[in-house]
């Protein structure tokens, strides 16, 4: 079902986008501050959304803010930080139920908008920095998060692989930084960075709900047009070039099962074609990787591929017994070669196409997913709807898929394995 998309500029480098669909029972607002990834600022930026989402100048403790959110029918304000290509994205998200579902017709949507903007624009501060006591805790959490990355071996393998895949590129930088960069942040340095971002960052605001948010829009417009701006310009990401020689790394940890991440680089232009190629290769549970590497040969417990279209990378993510790692790698390469040689049945191609259409059609059913869809498109200077992409996908031919596969160059093979296995290898 189609969504009413409207994007307007409300200040220099600041856009407000509404995504309306009458059946929504909730209202969701997302504010992204987009800036370049850099080692100097990565941890400063990473702590900011969490500090902002916890308190503001009126509700100066987490407890007070949470009580206010509970009063607004369990509304939420959340901070997150993510990586998109070479950019770091600091986000504040708020969500509440539509006013008409409250017990006594209360106006909670506009109240939540005000509360969220107060978090963003009027934080709890002291002595020229963020409020010290809260900041220390958020900083400790950032440090804990970075340390805890080791707990989840699959995502840890992914992050470690990224260091090699994107060597010397901004995208290699872990989204929360390192222990070293995180230790260095202070309430004052983070606050100064925050002030700078409000001036210079690309700001993208999305509202998803049933009705035009007349009053909330006014509140947002007024708040952002009052900001003093010195816009640094739109963000973009550079495609990652393939290395002359494949980078191979094996890291030893205390694990029972090894994790292998392989990365291929491509400069192929069409995202839509790459997505279809990826779906045939390893993006679905009937893809070549799933059917052969996992099901037929039982080499991996999981084995799937994905696309990072901003950087031109296709990666394969697998969980494998160490003794099978070489076999699995050979079979993964063999399956890619199959696609490059045109060994794709009509069923494989059409089924992959259907699976993508199915998932793109569903995007508009979820508030977060539709807001993220348009953010990803806007970031790449586009504004295509899921339906537009589906029309493009319908036109992709087998020859296009083969061309896209041929453009892939193996760049990195990263293996995280048990100490025993690494020793014997």
């Amino acid at each position: 079902m189609s969504i009413k998309y409207n994007r307007e500029k409300i200040s220099d480098g600041i856009h407000f986008t509404t995504l309306l669909n009458e059946r929504q029972k909730t209202n969701t607002t997302v504010i992204h501050l987009v800036t370049g990834l850099s080692r100097d600022t990565v941890s400063l930026n990473a702590v900011i959304p969490y500090v902002l989402a916890g308190t503001n100048s009126s509700f100066t403790t987490l407890t007070a803010l949470n009580r206010e959110l509970n009063r607004l029918y369990g509304s939420v304000i959340k901070g997150t930080v993510t990586k998109v290509g070479d950019s770091q994205v600091l986000s504040l998200m708020s969500g509440c139920i539509n006013d008409k579902y409250t017990f006594e017709n209360e106006h909670i949507t506009d109240g939540l908008t005000e509360l969220m903007l107060e978090c963003l624009i009027s934080p709890h501060i002291e002595n020229g920095g963020f409020f010290g006591k809260d900041f220390v805790l958020k900083k400790q959490e950032l440090l804990d998060d970075i340390e805890a990355e080791i707990n989840e071996k699959r995502s840890y393998a992914f992050k470690s692989a990224a260091l090699r895949i994107f060597e010397n590129e901004p995208s290699a930088i872990p989204v929360k930084g390192s222990l070293e960069t995180a230790y260095a942040i202070t309430p004052v340095s983070a606050y100064q960075q925050y002030k700078k971002l409000l001036k210079t960052a690309q700001i993208e605001i999305y509202f998803v709900g049933a009705n035009e948010p007349v009053r909330s829009k006014e509140i947002i417009k007024n708040a952002f047009s009052a900001l003093e701006r010195d816009y640094a310009g739109d963000n973009s990401s550079a495609l990652s070039a393939a290395k002359a020689q494949v980078c191979r790394v094996t890291e030893a940890h205390d694990v029972a099962q090894s994790k292998m991440v392989m990365a291929f680089k491509t400069d192929y232009k069409s995202t839509v074609v790459l997505k279809l190629m990826n779906a045939v290769f390893g993006g679905t549970p009937f893809s070549k990787l799933f059917m052969n590497v996992r099901e037929k040969l039982s080499l991996c417990y999981y084995c799937s591929s994905g696309v990072n279209d901003k950087k031109g990378v296709i990666y394969v993510d697998s969980g494998v017994e160490h003794s099978n790692a070489k076999k699995a790698e050979d079979e993964i390469l063999n399956q890619l070669e199959n696609i490059q040689n045109g060994n794709i049945t009509d069923d494989e191609l059409e089924n992959a196409r259907l699976a993508i259409i199915n998932s793109w059609r569903g995007v508009s059913d979820g508030a977060r997913s539709i807001a993220d869809w348009y953010f990803q498109r806007n970031y790449s200077n586009g504004s295509e709807s899921p339906e537009d992409f589906i029309e493009m996908l319908k036109k992709v031919t087998k020859a296009d898929v083969i061309d896209a596969a041929k453009s892939l160059k193996l760049d990195t093979v990263y293996i995280l394995t048990g100490k025993e296995a690494a020793h014997n290898a």
Binding site: K25, L72, F103
Partner: protein, 431 residues
């Protein structure tokens, strides 16, 4: 014609249809206008805990090895000719299956060709096919899955806690079973369990989305094989009221100690269990959610961090409240928690916060009605308990402060708790 029962709720202005199908199956259908996605679930009341059962033709209960429910889930996805994923590939649906402690569900989600996907779902779940060879092959894949969870600290800390809480109840055993228990599985056992638990009288079909109700029922008429009611009964070993172990510890390669603290309570059934869950959730919020004084104090002192959370965990024959997170000194968290529970029992819960917690709880439930997957899951879960999908939201709206106070006194016995800690490999103690 099918006898349709419309289940309505005035509060949120929604309704869905229930049909008791002649085949024995309970069918729930919720039409969502203007949505693209349809979500369908075909589930059986059969999970990892159901290892002891009998039918009306048998006099004695039989006990089977752990892990069969999950094993069956894997095997059903493979029918005689091909993998089930390849069948769905032709409809574009995304399909999956999962096994929990008390149910096994097969699902798909699609935006087109719902009828074709539904036929696939109904057919493959009703068409078991196990041979010695295919059973052996699966032992390799599931063995790897079990090993993958061995490395997962969040999973381990949880199961260690269940082993601390329970003496005999099978909830304490991994859903996938153990490498040893799955080695005992053979086609004969799989058929035995399949025939008992995949009887349509023990199953539910739940479907939400932009669908045509009559078309769905027509497909059901054609594709459901009538089952006679075998009056399946499940049973558990007697479970003492007290905990098996006060403390369970382990080590893995992690950064900071992880902990789960469980308070064991007496299990309930049906709407009583739902009431208990809801009232206990209120107690947990009042005691220790992010807005509580207790949370703030421990957070400010650095005893807990934002990973601290709590939940109610219950099913057939078990009920407990769990607090978990990361902490440098988990035993100190337990001590503070026990003190707070005792203090609250004497001085009372924070009545001022009760109303706003109710609004918050209610608001979070409203949000679920946005989404086909959440709705289908809600209809399935409540259907399996013989409840309606609106019972939870109505119970929340009706809960009083006195109910919650009574629940605190009944459900939180500080001498009936168990703490599970996973410590980092390289450190000696948590202190």
């Amino acid at each position: 014609m099918h006898k349709k029962q419309i289940i309505k709720n005035e509060r949120i202005g929604e309704q869905y249809t229930y049909v008791k199908h002649p085949s024995g199956l309970d069918i729930y259908i919720w039409k969502m206008e203007n949505y693209s996605t349809t979500h369908a679930l075909f589930g059986t009341k059969y999970g990892s805990i159901n290892t002891k059962f009998k039918t009306k033709d048998e006099t004695d209960y039989i006990t089977v090895p752990s892990g069969i429910a999950h094993y069956l889930e894997h095997k059903l996805f493979e029918n005689e000719d091909c993998d089930v994923f390849s069948l769905y590939a032709k409809t574009g649906a995304s399909a999956n299956a999962y096994t929990t402690f008390d149910k096994t569900c097969y699902l798909f989600s699609c935006t087109d060709k719902t009828a074709d996907s539904l036929k696939i779902l109904l057919d493959f779940v009703q068409d078991p096919y196990f041979t010695d060879e295919s059973v052996k092959k699966e032992q390799g894949i599931i063995g790897q899955e079990i090993r993958m969870y061995d490395d997962n600290a969040g999973w381990r800390v949880f199961f260690n806690m269940l082993q601390g809480l329970y003496h005999n109840h099978p909830v304490k055993i991994d859903i996938a079973g153990t490498v040893e228990s799955i080695a005992e599985i053979n086609p004969g056992l799989l058929y035995k369990c399949y025939n008992a638990f995949y009887n349509l009288n023990n199953m539910v079909l739940s479907i939400a989305g932009n669908i045509d109700e009559d078309e769905i029922l027509e497909i059901c008429d054609k594709h459901l094989k009538p089952n006679k009611n075998i009056e399946l009964e499940t049973a558990f070993e007697d479970e003492p009221e007290n905990c098996a172990h006060a403390e369970m510890t382990g080590r893995l390669e992690i950064a900071m100690p992880l902990f789960n603290i469980g308070f064991k309570a007496n299990p309930e059934k049906g709407i009583q269990a739902v009431r208990a869950e809801i009232e206990t959730n209120f107690v947990l919020s009042l005691l220790a959610d992010e807005s509580s004084d207790f949370y703030k104090k421990l957070y400010d002192e650095g005893i807990i961090n934002s990973s601290f959370s709590s939940e109610v965990f219950w099913g057939d024959g078990y009920f407990c409240s769990i607090f978990g997170g990361e902490a440098r000194n988990p035993r100190l968290v337990l001590e503070k928690l026990k003190t707070e529970i005792e203090r609250t029992k004497k001085e009372g819960l924070d009545e001022e916060r009760f109303d706003i917690i109710k609004k918050s709880y209610y608001g979070s439930l409203i949000r679920d009605f946005n989404d086909a997957e959440a709705i289908a899951t809600l209809m399935m879960n409540s259907g399996m308990e013989k409840l309606t999908a609106f019972d939870i939201i109505e119970t929340v709206a009706a809960v009083t402060f006195n109910d919650v106070t009574a629940r605190l006194k009944k459900q939180f016995n500080i001498s009936n708790s168990s703490i599970s800690i996973i410590e980092p490999l390289n450190k000696e103690g948590a202190e």
